[in-house]
Symmetry: C2
Subunit: 407 residues, 2 copies
């Protein structure tokens, strides 16, 4: 089997399903193009004799039984959905890679000792309905059915109706399988570390924890000409002190800490009025739960001090607090070993972005492989990885699955 | 004559013309309510035998000839237009005060030695059409007719058509009178200095110069999770350093310097993206032209340095550069003398806001009187001054006009 040709054709084929005339790919959960993509993957898997099935919610599985230990499953996969105007790698590359690696192993080495299986997860992005990880959470029996019962997309289509329309339904019970012995997800990095360091692959040992905040500053709107500096309660000035000090500190700490003030909305946002109010966001990530808590705790204290010193009211809403998820050490070591043996240019690294693997890791031994993203661009039509890097990623994934399923 | 009663009635009457059902007053140039207001003022002036006339563009004048030096005119006044949803003092208080002070002087002291005249200027705010100081600029022969020939309001009504509709037209030539020996404008402070210092009036010796900027920072939008701190070109961070350093400096310098970063628009303005671009404004004012130039020059240099050090492109557009306008020393001293004699609680101060007087001062000896603004609020339905303060202002204006016209 010509691995490069098969991989290339599958990426091209799947990229044509959900191609968005306004740019890139838009393949949202329970839309027609979403089902068409799952059906394409299913047919490809059937063509090389995998046993396929959909679960109740629309996760697709393709499996070959193990010869000696069929009740032990080695699994790989990712998600089939995309963001709006996304690229053609985020998610589907991990699905294609898993399926193609299994086909390659079957062709090269015949039936595995343990069962080999891929999963094409229904949803990860949260781009259509206000819910994320719908696929992986159902897979591990953690989905909150009540939370989605009444939600709808931006055009008013109800989640439940759309799910039924495509022939799917809620799982009767949130149960999970007990045969999964290892899960390996391959994904684009969505950052530019590998590219900058001229590496082919990353071995992911941790998915960073995140804390996200909405913060409001209330001061006093005043005339920019007639209000002396000493009479002001200028919220943009307060914001600028908070942001510049905090990022100065984050720069000192450095990797793996990242800190972003992505959104700033002053009011009234006019050249000649001292801004009486500012809403802003803070996004902080680190691989160590304790450090993340301590660092953001200090930032919260310091921003409260700054606001207070200017006679400004501050409201801090920490609306996301996700703990870091360490990957399974044994699997990380297996990937590293195969990377060494295969002379891949690689590094061990953490993921700053969220992935299905963070939902799966608490249940089954899990690790990830990254391939480089050109300019770190993702969630954008310009998302790209050089084909040789995509191919090397699939090879390392196959090598790893071989180690886990054939030995 | 009961000065308080007359003043109160005129404010009430005029405030009912252009009362906006959505809040406050909206009386825009060449609208029906605008003409109605000018006609009201004209009728009031006629009722105590002033000689009234409109000039070509709609400035209204009311005059009594001097007994000994009729060719020397002492003038007072302000503008009749308001902003959208403005208050009922900005502008019209200065018109009513001038007319009422003249009526009071005639009643108390008879015909003046020099001619006394008020002006109710057609427009100052620039709230309907993209032009400001249309009234005062025509009065001093400085209006740019070509600049307004093709402009229209936000609903598409053309300036020229609206002017004609109300019976007005361009001046044949931009000439100016040579009889004006003094101009005194009374206006609300629009700041909270007088209120905070528990003063009744301010004697304005300078109208601050202003420099306004649109500044653009171009860095790189990146994933907030996957982009290490050292790889970023974060424009909100750059903005925060620029703003916090600049305002720190402005705070050290203090009065009469003011510095405002009123508008900040990051792109894409999302919690989990390092902002690749920021547009922001800077508004800086001072009463000394040289200092203003030097201070903002240093800020421009420093923000360029900061951007450069972060690998960020900066574009600095200084789109407004108005020199400070000193008031006439002799008239300032006259007002101070009358304030001392009358035991007014006052201070000499500058104006941080722009006024008709800045257009008039280069042509005729000019000064201003301020009355307190409660909480410094203006351009807002909540604009207010305690009535006793409004009355004291008119009294000091009358005392000043007496000194200038009767002695």
């Amino acid at each position: 089997m010509n691995l490069a040709d098969v991989l290339k054709k599958r990426i091209d084929d799947l990229s044509s399903i959900g191609n968005d005339p306004t740019g890139g790919m838009t393949r949202l959960l329970y839309t027609d193009s979403w089902l068409q993509a799952q059906k394409y993957v299913e047919q490809q898997a059937k063509d090389f004799d995998l046993k396929t099935h959909f679960d109740e919610v629309g996760n697709l599985f393709g499996r070959v039984e193990g010869s000696e230990l069929p009740a032990e499953t080695i699994m790989s996969g990712s998600h089939i959905d995309t963001v709006v105007n996304g690229g053609n790698l985020d998610g589907q590359y991990g699905v294609i890679a898993a399926m193609t690696a299994i086909e390659y192993l079957l062709a090269e080495h015949g039936q595995p000792k343990r069962s080999l299986e891929f999963i094409s997860m229904a949803e990860e992005e949260g781009s259509r309905f206000p819910t994320v990880f719908w696929g992986s959470k159902n897979f591990v029996g953690e989905a909150d059915v009540d939370a989605v019962k009444d939600i709808a997309d931006s055009e008013g289509a109800k989640f439940v109706d759309e799910m039924h329309r495509q022939g799917f339904d809620f799982k009767k019970e949130q149960t999970r399988r007990d045969d999964i012995k290892a899960f390996v997800e391959i994904h684009i990095e969505q950052g530019n570390v590998l590219e900058n360091q001229k590496l082919q692959v990353g071995v992911v040992n941790n998915i960073a924890g995140q804390r996200r905040y909405n913060i409001n500053l209330k001061g006093e709107a005043n005339h920019a000409g007639t209000t002396p500096m000493s009479y002001r309660h200028d919220t943009v000035y307060a914001f600028s002190k908070i942001c510049s000090e905090a990022i100065d500190r984050a720069n000192e700490v450095g990797d793996p800490l990242v800190l972003t003030f992505g959104k700033v909305i002053p009011k009234p946002n006019t050249v000649n009025v001292v801004p009486g109010e500012v809403d802003f966001t803070m996004d902080c990530r680190h691989t160590d739960a304790e450090f993340l808590k301590k660092f953001t705790g200090e930032l919260e204290e310091r921003m409260t001090e700054i606001a207070k010193s200017m006679g400004i009211e501050i409201t801090i809403d920490r609306w996301m607090d996700e703990a870091p998820v360490p990957m399974n050490t044994a699997i990380v070591e297996t990937i590293e070993k195969k990377a060494d043996e295969g002379n891949y240019k690689y590094r061990v690294m953490h993921s700053g972005a969220g992935h299905d693997s963070q939902v799966i890791a608490p249940h089954y031994p899990t690790a990830m492989i990254f391939v480089p993203s050109i300019n770190g661009i993702s969630h954008n039509p310009a998302e790209k990885t050089e084909f040789p890097d995509l191919l090397e990623g699939v090879k390392l994934l196959a090598d790893t699955l071989y180690e886990l399923a054939y030995k």
